[in-house]
Symmetry: C2
DNA sequence: GTAAAGTAGTCAACGTGGTTGTCGAAACAG
DNA sequence: CTGTTTCGACAACCACGTTGACTACTTTAC
């Protein structure tokens, strides 16, 4: 009680800066591994597609954007060689979007890099602090904000 | 040691979800106070302008974007009535961007709302946990990652 | 004092990621 | 068979960012 609370606006700034620094480091490392053209939004989209593939409409639902926006992102991912479209034999309207080997590689590398970046935080703060940070955020974050609901926050 | 570490990708997701939930609540409350058209990026821009005003180039430098992008954002803020441009008598090239009373109101309200949102987190997690979360992030976030570097905002 | 260099703001063209609205084709419910 | 819903695509548009080019003005160097 002897110390004044920090101003409330610092909290979102710190959260954003932490998020942003992780994402920036991720893409620096991905670029060094040959994934130079990929952007943050693409990582979320690949995650939403998942190992079994998904339709464009389903991807949009998972990301919380319109099916048209999801379709455009799929177009770009396909042009970059990360996904491919295949006809769905059980439904002639649908086209299944699947990861290519390159897309899967990007996802695997990202997971490895994120693990390493988290380990850096553990090195700086200690395992307990990082675990507590994650635990606090899990408690305070509304379930609706998860698992993936991310419109245009990076560019 | 007996528990496995969570996957590294959860950390950025949690940070983003926390940030996003605060920003969403902020804008819900701002809308209820009459600031219905303002978007997250505008709040950052108003912060970058600050109580004494700034030139467009300076705003861009503080936000880490080009002067052209800053100029466009100022155009939109001016159209919404949050800022106004004035000639700088000491340098005929510069135009000083200043907050209007409405812009200042928005910033003051935002500060109040952020304080209240932080108090909500304190209520859920306890003051110590929130302080520790902020402290951890301050240690781990590189100084360059702060989107707005404005001396002396709100005390 | 003047010429060269640098800086502020604007305009234009463009890229990316989002939105609605519309539409044809296919699936489904009755 | 018919009406409704769903999927993917196309078009128009908006928000926010980028570069490059240009004018007007300031500052610096000689």
């Amino acid at each position: 009680m002897t110390e004044a609370d920090p101003p409330g606006y610092e909290l979102p700034l710190l959260l954003f800066a932490g998020f942003r620094s992780l994402i920036d480091e991720l893409h620096t490392e991905l670029a060094a591994l040959g994934h130079t053209e990929v952007r943050p939004v693409h990582g979320f989209a690949l995650q939403a597609i998942g190992p079994y593939g998904a339709s464009a409409t389903e991807i949009g639902r998972r990301l919380g954007v319109s099916k048209q926006a999801a379709g455009k992102t799929v177009d770009r991912l396909a042009a970059l060689g990360y996904v491919e479209r295949a006809d769905d034999p059980s439904d002639a309207r649908r086209k299944l979007v699947r990861l290519t080997p390159r897309g899967l590689d990007m996802l695997t590398r990202s997971a490895e890099i994120f693990d390493r970046l988290r380990a850096n935080w553990v090195h700086q703060l200690g395992a307990g602090q990082v675990a507590q940070l994650e635990s606090s955020l899990r408690r305070v974050v509304p379930a609706t904000a998860f698992p993936v609901d991310v419109p245009g926050w990076f560019g």
